[in-house]
């Protein structure tokens, strides 16, 4: 009986703490706008990892084709016909120690993917640092939370 109660309480508190950590990480969820204002990104959670997809582009159509922009700069030729709208440019972020890391950010302008770490300055501001190898060799962009009117 004692063992059973102990197990139940352990399971209960483990569950609660797990949920708390997830809740803290979930403040990343929502709509965000990079500093250049060229895109809007919706961050979602899939199987405990965070992903951000492009949901709006200031210039949605390719000026050459007048068709919706494709990921034509991707180094993988098989991806060059994928529409940019809906493209997951943030991938595989895991929340730990107050930041989202182990993820990557994709720059459709150059077709390059960078290591990335995300920190929340407050509930409505993110520091998104893309870097090359070590964090010192990187650039931080500040994203602001937006909401649909």
């Amino acid at each position: 009986m004692k063992n059973l109660l102990l197990f139940a309480f352990l399971a209960f508190f483990t569950g609660i703490s797990t949920l708390n950590a997830q809740d803290a990480g979930d403040k990343l969820l929502g709509l965000w706008e990079p500093s250049n204002g060229k895109a809007r990104v919706k961050i979602e959670k899939i199987a405990n990892k965070y992903y951000g997809k492009i949901v709006w582009l200031r210039e949605p159509n390719d000026p050459q084709t007048s068709q919706p922009k494709l990921d034509k700069n991707n180094s993988d030729p098989s991806m060059r016909s994928v529409p940019l709208k809906g493209y997951r440019m943030l991938k595989d972020f895991v929340f730990a120690d107050g930041e989202w890391n182990n993820g990557t950010i994709y720059d459709p302008e150059s077709g390059s993917t960078y290591s990335c770490v995300i920190k929340a300055k407050n509930d409505n501001t993110l520091d998104i640092r893309g870097f090359v190898g070590v964090k010192a060799l990187g650039r931080t962009d500040v994203w602001k939370r937006i909401q649909v009117k």
Binding site: G15, T18, L19, P63, V148
Partner: protein, 386 residues
């Protein structure tokens, strides 16, 4: 964490039969596990089509938030974190005058030395690291070190010559410095750009270093507009050594990318101006020119109360091919014509103070020198910025 309700149930069974307390415990565990599992269920909505038109009209959640313009436009050549390049020129003729006092109006001084520079070249290192990177301000710091070595042959000297040919042949020239760039967006379409650098140039070596009072300062301040993602222009003023001696000149910034994304310009006139041909984001060609210069203190010619400085300024008309090698490593290969703008020598006070001759000053030169034109090549590898 891949467990199921069945495995939970069997785990509980190992602790005993289902008494009323056990049922309560089971309920607790069930409640916890449902929550945990809910958090782990894949968000299938992410893969489903959604109505993107709902994101057309948005507002910042933080009422005080503002949009600021980016320092870049589409398809600019990549900014470099770390660069290592080798620069070399083909042989050319050199004529150095006898020391004296030559009016700036003169084209040529009294012959002192003439020779053929059979080798001019060396390594160039540069680094540029972001210090502050926020929406409302960007601040970068950089450092550079350039080493230029000379070999001369067929030397002919007149009596009283300064011996500059031999001095250059023995030690070459070096420049090292630090620089900073601040980009301050004022709004969605306007910005301020400030660049400053401090360079120590001369024929010093690390073992025989040059006093820091001969550091030369350059700066530029530009006000600009970025009306869209393809155009950026600005006007400003600069203090520069690009033509060898210090001068104050207006500058004009014009970066542009055509709607086709194949053509563009990268211009900071008069320092450099290039037309850009983008083959793809990993492959581009710049064609244009750059002015390059510094004021090099020559210690063996300097006396107790005089500092002799070569005002080296050259125009490099060139084609610069840049391509991504792998990851974030890029290769650049330049070929061009190096035209001698100035290689004259000024005799300055030994306190390190500069003179301002500008375009119409009458201060005399201590030597009037000429270098023949030469083909040059520059090949470098670069770690580029995200």
């Amino acid at each position: 964490m891949k467990y199921t309700h069945c495995s939970l149930f069997s785990a509980i069974k190992r602790f005993g039969i289902l008494l009323p307390w056990n049922r309560f415990a089971l309920l607790l565990v069930f409640f916890c596990s449902v929550n945990v599992l809910q958090a782990q269920i894949p968000d299938t909505s992410a893969t489903q089509e959604e109505d993107y038109s709902q994101y057309e009209t948005v507002t910042f959640t933080d009422a005080g938030a503002r949009r600021y313009c980016s320092p870049k436009i589409f398809d600019l050549s990549p900014q470099r974190f770390i660069s290592l390049a080798w620069d070399v020129q083909t042989p050319y003729s050199s004529r150095f005058s006898l020391p004296g006092a030559y009016s700036p109006d003169l084209k040529q001084g009294n012959d002192g030395e003439s020779a053929t520079a059979s080798y001019t070249g060396g390594f160039r290192f540069g680094a540029n690291i972001p210090v502050v990177s926020r929406n409302n301000i960007l601040w970068q710091m950089g450092a550079n070190f350039w080493d230029t070595r000379y070999n001369f042959k067929d030397l002919k000297t007149q009596e009283g010559a300064a011996g500059l040919t031999q001095i250059l042949d023995e030690r070459g020239l070096r420049t090292m410095g630090i620089n900073t760039t601040v980009f301050k967006p004022l709004g969605e379409t306007t910005f301020l750009l400030f660049q400053g650098s401090a360079d120590l140039s001369g024929n010093y070596t690390l073992a025989d270093f040059q006093s820091l009072r001969y550091v030369r300062y350059s700066a530029a301040a530009i006000w600009g507009r970025r009306p869209n993602d393809r155009k950026q222009w600005g006007l400003g003023i600069s203090r520069t050594y690009r033509v060898g001696e210090m001068n104050y000149i207006p500058v004009f910034l014009f970066n542009y990318t055509a709607p086709s994304r194949r053509w563009g310009t990268e211009i900071l006139f008069p320092a450099r101006a290039h037309v850009r041909r983008s083959f793809n984001p990993r492959n581009l060609l710049l064609v244009g020119y750059e002015l390059e210069g510094q004021s090099y203190r020559i210690a063996p010619l300097s006396a107790a109360n005089r500092s002799w400085e070569i005002r080296r300024g050259e125009l490099r008309a060139r084609a610069d091919y840049q391509r991504k090698l792998s990851g974030f490593v890029w290769l650049s290969a330049q070929i061009g014509w190096r035209y001698d703008w100035s290689y004259n020598v000024d005799a300055l006070g030994n306190d390190g103070r500069e003179i301002f001759r500008g375009f119409s000053g009458s201060q005399t030169y201590a030597m009037l020198n000429q270098l023949g034109g030469a083909l040059y090549f520059n090949i470098g590898v670069h770690l580029v910025s995200p």
